[in-house]
Amino acid sequence: MELLLIFIIGLLHAAGIYMLLRRSMFKMIIGLIFLGNGVNLLIFLLGRLVKGKPPVIDEASKVFTDIYADPVPQALILTAIVIGFGLQSFAIILIKRVYKVLETDDLDELNSTDEEI
């Protein structure tokens, strides 16, 4: 399974970069999200995969008695997902505004800075 995950991580990175290199701003955001997903999975994988043992202590005991999944990568990813969402929503609204003003999605048409808008 880990090997399949590694394949998916590579694929997500490749797809993310490919989309990031497009001229369409919409695709850039998609690329950004793909990259984010890829990185999250990578961190998750590096914490090692453990099946069915969430890092939650039993009702009865005060410490872990069994093996458990690594909690630190999970905490990191949780943060990353939330921050990623902040970034995505801002970017989505931003390109919506750009659309509205300039009526284009093409990055190459955004090359004037001081134009009256």
Binding site: E2, R23, F44, A69, V82, K96
Partner: protein, 767 residues
């Protein structure tokens, strides 16, 4: 002493304040700065003559061995007196010459800055300080040459001068640092005690070359001479001060200072003879083809600098003494000639020597100064120029086996300089006064007194050379440590040297009578312009500029994706190079978990959605694919013991898809912007990068993992924080402040979103 050096900087720095209070007072007050230092130096003179040298030490950056050590010996005293003495006259002269100029106060600021830098340069005992002051003189010279900043040619000349001298300065810095490394000290006083350290060192040749480049660029030696005629675009006081009397002699100063340390070898002496010899002849001949007074002076100055370098190269005791004396002689007569040129320009409005004549009728004192200076320049007996010429001839005549050739070269140069001096100092004043200049009158004494003072000194020192004895002796000692005692005399008896002097005078006078300045001659020389160093330098500059333009345009092209491509390519190549030797991975198959059918299904779903997102043309399609990828991710988290992540991912994914749908679905269909070729390139690059990440992930995965941090959190989650969900405890307790800051980030993003949504662009826009 330190105050004497920095007072110029201080007065330059205080200038804005001062000129706010009363702008008209600046020209009246500032001349007293150099005058004060001049008097101070004169006051120090007896102790210098007695003790040989005085030292002042102010620690600056002791950890680097850089201290403000000032050393005053004969040579630096000579320069110091020239800088402040001629400086005083120039400061006074300027107050009338540029009277009413809008930026006169600024001009004084530059001049003061220059003076301070120049004093620092000649007084520094530390090589690094010397370099700092050296560059400061280049910079202030740049401002002074470009003073008429609305004239394009003036700006260009300033840039050329800065380019050449700045380049030389940097090369010099490399040489000086190298010297410091070789000898372990940056102090002149210590260096001079161990000259053999350098002469026997393997990098001697490089140090010498670097010092030469620094000195030759500064002192306008062939083939770097061309910035100096251009620098004559500066107002005449600047040409007088910087480009004849002081700054251009900084290179000579440097060479003279380094001669006891680096000199004495064939490469040092012969290079100086060759470069100095070419410069003096080349520039002297050039001066004959000029009709603009300042151009004539510029080339004769270059020629004089060539003579000085040449004499340092010849290196006999008399030659060095002649060089020391010629620095003084030249500064006196050349400054006079420049100043009177300024007066002529100021009063008649022209500097064309062919149009000027007979001015002695209307400006007698100026003519008087011009005659005296021209005679001193020619080396007529009873003038200081004669004495320095005699000693010079003596030194060269008794040098090596090639003495005849060298002496002949010097005599020819001197003959031509005779003519150049007469053209500037005599021709405009003699003959019949043209009608157009009948109304010209004598200017304000502030203009004509300074050249007269200098001209009288030329004569005075020539008639009574004994007054200079002690001073020249001190200069001599700093050039030649074991110098014999000298006595300057007007008369050296009947010998070969006197014969050569007379030949020089006769030939010079003959040439002056028969060879007339003419504009036709300039036109003839223009055929060779393509080969002249200035054109080579300029085309070099153009090529460099074009290259810089292309280079910058290539990397800083303004396309974000090209930057991304460059970074990725670099990263992939760099990391890929390491993998070139093969990847060494030993997978522990026990570590790898089994694949269940449901997991496999999720993987297939994910891969399919990614590819769908890549190829689909509809926006909605992409968003749906994106949602599926997110949900599949969510399932992975769920399978592998991360319920919190799964929940977060699920809600965030849903929100993102909703947001996308709401905002973007109304917009037009995706267009295909890029060509097939570009897409193939990007696809290839992305695949490379993806594979790289996958390989790295595999490598990290098979390495042992360290879990100290995780174990600590897991064990203490309940004991310390009373929580059983460890992930939650980490986020809200152990790393609570991080989470709080994260919330702030989200709030900022929310404010951004909110304001973007409500942003009303151009509320005042019509229609």
């Amino acid at each position: 002493m330190i105050f004497a050096v920095i007072s110029g900087f201080l007065s330059a720095a205080l200038l804005p304040l001062f000129s706010k209070i009363n702008k008209n007072l600046v020209p009246k007050v500032y001349p007293f700065v150099p005058l004060g230092i001049f008097v101070y130096l004169l006051y120090l003179m007896p102790s210098v003559l007695q003790e040989g040298s005085l030292m002042w030490n102010y620690p600056w950056v002791p950890s680097f061995g850089v201290d403000l050590v000032f050393r005053l010996d004969g040579l630096s005293l000579l320069f110091g007196l020239l800088i402040t003495g001629i400086g005083t006259l120039v400061f006074f002269y300027t107050s009338y010459y540029l009277k009413g100029d809008e930026y006169l106060d600024r001009f004084y600021g530059y001049l003061s800055m220059f003076m301070a830098a120049m004093l620092g340069l000649v007084f520094s005992d530390n090589l690094i300080c010397l370099f700092v002051f050296w560059e400061l003189t280049s910079i202030s010279s740049f401002f002074l040459i470009g003073y008429k900043n609305n004239d394009p040619s003036s700006r260009k000349s300033a840039l050329t001068a800065l380019g050449i001298t700045g380049f030389g300065g940097l090369v010099l810095l490399a040489g000086l640092i190298w010297m410091g490394f070789v000898s372990g000290t940056f102090s002149f006083t210590e260096l001079i005690t161990t000259p053999e350290v350098f002469r026997e060192h393997s990098s001697y040749i490089w140090i010498v070359v670097m010092v030469f480049v620094g000195a030759f660029t500064k002192s306008a030696q062939f083939p770097f001479h061309f910035w100096l005629p251009g620098a004559m675009k500066a107002p005449t006081p600047v040409s007088t001060y910087l480009h004849s009397a002081t700054m251009v002699k900084a290179g000579i100063y440097l060479l003279a200072r380094f001669t006891p340390i680096l000199g004495g070898t064939a490469i040092w002496q012969e290079t100086l003879i060759i470069v100095g010899g070419i410069t003096m002849l080349f520039a002297a001949v050039h001066s004959l083809f000029r009709t603009d007074l300042k151009s004539i002076l510029a080339y004769s100055t270059i020629s004089a600098l060539g003579i000085l370098v040449f004499l340092l190269g010849v290196g006999t005791q008399d030659a060095l003494l002649g060089a020391g004396l010629f620095i003084l002689t030249h500064a006196l007569y050349k400054a006079t000639l420049f100043l009177i040129t300024g007066i002529i320009d100021h009063e008649t409005g022209t500097r064309e020597v062919t149009r000027l004549a007979g001015l002695q009728k209307v400006m007698k004192p100026v003519a008087f100064a011009g005659y005296l200076a021209a005679l001193s320049s020619a080396g007529v007996p009873m003038f200081l120029g004669f004495i320095s010429k005699e000693i010079m001839y003596e030194g060269v005549f008794h040098s090596s086996s090639l003495a005849w050739v060298l002496t002949a070269a010097l005599v020819i140069t001197k003959v031509i300089l005779f003519v150049a001096g007469f053209w500037v100092g005599v021709k405009p004043f003699s003959g019949n006064l043209p009608a157009e200049y009948q109304k010209v009158h004598l200017p304000n004494p502030l203009l004509w007194v300074p050249p007269c003072i200098l001209a009288v000194l030329c004569l005075l020192f020539g008639v009574l050379p004994a007054v200079l004895d002690g001073f020249v002796q001190a200069v001599f000692i700093s050039l030649v440590p074991e110098a014999p005692e000298i006595h300057l005399a007007i008369w050296h008896g009947f010998n070969w040297i006197l014969g050569m002097s007379l030949v020089t005078l006769a030939l010079g006078f003959g040439l002056y009578l028969f060879f007339k300045p003419s504009t036709n001659l300039i036109l003839k020389t223009q055929t060779f312009d393509n080969l002249s160093p200035i054109n080579i330098a300029e085309s070099g500059g153009r090529i460099f500029k074009a290259f810089a333009w292309k280079w910058t345009g290539f990397f800083q092209n303004g396309y974000l994706r090209n930057y991304v491509i460059t970074i990725l390519l670099f990263l992939t190549v760099l990391a890929g190079y390491r993998l070139y030797d093969g990847v060494d991975i030993h997978l522990d198959w026990n570590q790898i978990s089994q694949i269940t059918p449901s997991e496999f299904l999720v993987v297939v779903l994910m891969v399919a959605s990614i590819f769908f997102a890549l190829i689909t043309k509809t926006r909605t399609g992409v968003i749906v694919a994106l949602g599926i990828v997110g949900l599949a991710n969510c399932l992975f988290f769920l399978y592998y013991s991360a319920p919190d992540l799964a929940m977060t991912q699920f809600s965030i994914d849903t929100l993102t898809v909703l947001l996308f749908m709401l905002v973007l679905v109304q917009l037009p269909r995706n267009r295909s912007f890029s060509s097939r070729k570009v897409r193939l390139r990007d696809g290839f690059l992305s695949l490379m990068f993806g594979s790289l990440i996958a390989i790295l992930a595999l490598e990290v995965f098979e390495a042992p993992s360290y879990t100290e941090v995780s174990d600590y959190y897991a064990e203490n989650a309940y004991i310390l924080a009373k929580g059983k969900n460890v992930v939650n405890v980490i986020l809200v307790d152990f790393r609570g402040i991080d989470t709080m800051v994260e919330t702030v980030v989200l709030v900022i993003a929310a404010i951004g979103v909110f304001s973007l949504l409500n942003l009303n662009l151009n509320p005042f826009k019509k229609n």
